[in-house]
């Protein structure tokens, strides 16, 4: 039982290292800034999440039970990686493309990245009745 658990933890560790390497190598290797956004936000998150799972189950080897704290960090990373990727993409659009180059979003309003009225001013949140 202990040996099987050791094998599983070792497999998680190796998978985490490989996924982390893929993510960082993709960050270095891909050509376009928006392509470069793919590698760290997906592969590195999976790699670190796998290493965290291995770390969570490691204490069970010494008979101390599974420490579930590590899964908290993994869930936090899984939640925050898309948010930071969205912010980085918005920043790249804002700094690279002028307003006239962007296609019409089709909602009748300008792109939120270029909209000077975003976020809504206080008088828009509570319109005078």
């Amino acid at each position: 039982m202990t040996f099987a658990l050791e094998i599983v933890i070792a497999a998680f560790l190796v998978a985490g290292g490989i996924f982390g390497l893929i993510g960082s190598y993709g960050l270095l290797r891909l050509r376009d800034p928006m392509q470069r956004l793919h590698a760290p936000t997906k592969a590195t998150t999976i790699g670190v999440g796998t290493a965290l799972v291995a770390s969570a189950f490691h204490l069970a080897l010494q008979g101390q039970g599974v420490s579930w704290h590590e899964l908290m960090i993994a869930i936090f990373l899984l939640l925050t990686a898309p948010v930071s990727a969205l912010f980085l993409a918005k920043t790249h659009i804002f700094r690279t493309f002028p307003k006239s180059d962007l296609p019409d979003p089709g909602t009748g309003t300008p792109w939120a990245t270029h909209d000077a009225a975003w976020p809504a001013k206080p008088d828009r949140i509570n319109p005078p009745s």
């Binding site: 050791e6 094998i7 933890i9 070792a10 497999a11 560790l13 190796v14 985490g16 290292g17 490989i18 982390g20 390497l21 993510g23 960082s24 190598y25 960050l27 270095l28 800034p33 470069r36 956004l37 760290p40 590195t44 998150t45 790699g47 670190v48 290493a51 965290l52 291995a54 770390s55 490691h58 204490l59 080897l61 010494q62 420490s67 704290h69 590590e70 908290m72 960090i73 936090f76 990373l77 925050t80 948010v83 930071s84 912010f87 980085l88 918005k90 920043t91 790249h92 804002f94 700094r95 690279t96 990245t113 976020p119």
Partner: protein
């Protein structure tokens, strides 16, 4: 035994990840690349801290990893918000 080898491999892999991110941080043509490189470096450093925890057998460094995750995310979002809007808290 096999766990020790796997642990060495993972620590080496994440250390190499930090070096690759550092290259992208210094050569990155756009500012977005540099922010992304710093964000990835934070996540990789978090993984190294957790692997150090596995190696030492204690669970004392958990708070350090949690703080790295929090400050890395908040730093990335604050820098992007500053570039987008010119101020962080409007």
């Amino acid at each position: 035994m096999i766990l020790s080898y796997a642990l060495d491999f993972a620590i080496g892999a994440f250390g190499l990840c930090l070096v690759l991110n550092l290259i992208r941080l210094f050569t990155g043509p756009t500012l977005t690349d540099r922010i992304l490189a710093v964000d990835t470096m934070t996540v990789n450093a978090l993984a190294l801290v957790m692997l150090t925890t596995v190696r030492s057998g204690s669970n004392l460094l958990f708070e350090a990893a949690l703080l790295l995750a929090l400050t890395g995310f908040i730093g990335t979002v604050a820098y992007c918000k500053f570039l987008l809007r010119g101020s962080i808290i409007e």
